[in-house]
């Protein structure tokens, strides 16, 4: 198989600094309190994703899914291990980060397209399709700050899906937006997947993951505990959630993860 994405023993630790100013550092040092804590977000994560595969990253809150997605996108470098990707990686990692409120929708299509790696000719060629998919109509030449949150999301999503990446990273973006647009997005992602592109996605909606992905990687406290078919992974997530809910109901403070 041709790998589109290789994760080779990827680890990531975060540092939590408790004090920043000289005064606070001195106070904490005098009280013999810890100045910083390190916690492991990802611990020796290894996986290989083939071209055309669609993979879900699952896990409860704080399991390291989003961190892993950021490492794949290149935003965060791993502390150790290797990440390798083939082709253009684009992320729907919190879409709209590149939309500037003072610019019009039209200007934002070009700017955000360029941020996601499109050149001018490519953006021009896809412009009509982007606008049509976003369905923002007469607001195209209005500054984006006048957009409703739904329109904002639609425009951002539309630009992102039109970048035609080889590896598409999706993080929790389908949680928002009106149901109609959501269906449209899912149809687009299905089409995208069927065209043989690689997808890695994080979502809380188990049913959505089951329908879009064929493989699930379940993370717990930064470690891979299951890498295989999506149904087993999804069942595991459902069970974990039930446990947490039961633990909450029983009044015990649930541990992270």
């Amino acid at each position: 198989m041709t790998p589109a994405l290789v994760l080779d023993g990827v680890s990531k630790q975060f540092t939590l600094r408790h004090a920043r100013s000289i005064k606070n550092i001195t106070v904490r040092a005098l009280r013999r309190e810890r100045l910083r804590d390190r916690f492991t977000a990802l611990d020796q994560v290894s996986a290989e994703v083939a071209v055309g595969e669609s993979v879900a990253l699952l896990g409860t809150n704080g399991s390291g899914k989003s961190t892993l997605l950021k490492i794949i996108s290149g935003v965060l470098p791993p502390d150790s291990g290797r990440v390798l990707v083939r082709g253009r990686v684009a992320g729907l990692i919190e879409v709209g980060a590149g939309l500037h409120p003072e610019l019009t929708g039209r200007e934002n299509v070009f700017l955000n397209g360029a941020i996601l790696g499109m050149d001018r000719a490519e953006t021009v060629a896809k412009f009509d399709s982007i606008v049509e998919f976003a369905d923002i109509g007469a607001f195209l030449d209005q500054p984006v700050r006048f957009y409703s949150s739904g329109m904002f999301m639609r425009l951002a999503f539309s630009i992102a899906v039109h970048t035609d990446p080889d590896v598409f990273l999706i993080d929790e973006v389908l949680a928002v937006g009106d149901p109609l647009f959501r269906d449209k997005c899912i149809a687009r992602l299905t089409e995208f997947r069927d065209s043989g592109r690689t997808m890695v996605m994080v979502a809380h909606d188990v049913a959505l993951l089951r329908s879009l992905c064929s493989r699930g990687i379940f993370l717990e406290r930064g470690k891979v505990v299951w890498d295989g078919d999506i149904d087993t992974a999804a069942d595991l997530l459902v069970r974990k959630r039930r446990q947490r809910r039961a633990a909450l109901a029983a009044g015990r403070a649930p541990k992270l993860g």
Partner: protein, 350 residues
């Protein structure tokens, strides 16, 4: 992809027997999760497979060397520094345009503000230094003497201040999308450059009114002075932008530094005042400042040709200016290095 249909058999009803091709996880039976909900149990049943311990005949898992040899596989986000920025000139142009648009959006004067600020500076310095303190009597054509320096100093200060805030101001992007992060300080430099141009136009127009004509020496001096300031501004700007992500003290320090810069270059007084009043080593130190050299070069370019030519610049102005440029290039190299080192932790710090 030819195998896409095999990978995604049926979206609507993916049965447990779906023909996905996962990496085999050893020891997985048909019921991988018997009711033993502890983490250890999972780990026992499904040991994390990885390239660290690949079975010799595990299908689908390639030797690490094969990845190395595969040129199509690249590490994401491996920053190439300023070179990457040059490769993404189209994006850079859009970011610069965005900065300019956003800055003057919903303002009545718009780009006119880039004239108002230097005009106000000019008026203050002209009346205080030129008239009240009598510089106009000591320096011929004092307005052009001062203004040619002022546009350059403003260019430097604006570059440094904006570059310092460049990464933090784009935190949302830096956190979410990988871009060569040097892009933002470079964009700050270019925005300041756009603001420099009208000021420079006024300098040339006023100088021409006093009989200035372009000459190779004048243009060469101007170019050299500009290069020193741009290089130094970008180098310091890169370092400050990266430091500001970690220590929010940086912009305070930069703020004070710009004040010092404004008064420590021969802008509202001629350079020899320092030599006349300070010990020799102090005036040497004063002239070692690349910005002082750059200001002298701009005065050599635009002001000196309009005078009777009796004003003496420091000896070896050209040699010292070339040395200042070399020093600025060194600052740029160090600034880029600091930025490249620190940018790896930008996303987790922001």
């Amino acid at each position: 992809m030819s195998d896409a249909s095999g990978e995604h058999p049926d979206v609507a009803s993916p049965g447990p027997g779906a023909a996905y091709a996962p990496r085999p996880v050893s020891g997985m039976a048909s019921d991988p999760f018997p009711d033993a909900p502890t983490r250890d149990a999972f780990r026992q049943d499904a040991p994390t497979p990885g390239p660290r311990d690949p079975g010799p005949d595990e299908p689908g898992l390639r030797e690490p060397d094969a990845w190395q040899a595969d040129a199509g596989l690249v590490a994401p986000g491996r920053g190439g520094g300023l070179g990457d920025v040059l490769q993404r000139r189209y994006l850079l142009r859009l970011v610069v345009r965005r900065e300019l648009r956003a800055r003057y959006q919903s303002s009545l004067l718009g780009f006119g503000w880039s004239y108002v600020r230097p005009a106000a500076h000019f008026a203050v310095f002209y009346f205080v230094a030129g008239k009240f303190l009598g510089m106009s009597h000591r320096v011929d054509h004092f307005p052009i003497f001062m203004f040619s320096a002022l546009v350059l100093v403003s260019f430097f200060n604006e570059t440094l201040i904006n570059a310092t805030h460049a990464v933090l101001g784009n935190a949302a992007l830096v956190r979410k999308v990988y871009l060569p992060r040097e892009l933002f300080p470079v964009a700050s430099l270019l925005v300041s450059l756009v603001h420099l141009l009208p000021g420079l136009g006024i300098v040339v127009a006023v100088a021409a009114a006093w009989g200035w004509t372009p000459s190779p020496a004048a243009l060469g001096s101007a170019l050299l002075g500009f290069l020193i300031v741009a290089t130094l501004g970008l180098g310091l700007g890169l370092a400050c932008a990266a430091l500001h992500v970690f220590y929010r003290d940086t912009d305070k320090v930069v703020d004070i530094a710009t004040l010092v810069v404004t008064w420590s270059v021969p802008m509202i007084y001629p350079w020899h005042v320092v030599e006349d009043t300070a010990p020799h080593w102090a005036s040497e130190l004063y002239l070692a400042n690349p910005l002082a050299e750059a200001v002298l070069l701009f005065q050599r370019a635009f002001w000196w040709p309009t005078t009777d030519g009796t004003f003496l610049f420091p000896p070896h102005l050209t040699r010292d200016a070339v040395a200042a440029l070399a020093g600025s290039v060194l600052v740029l190299v160090v600034g880029q290095y600091v930025f490249a080192r620190l940018q790896r932790r930008f996303a987790e710090e922001l």
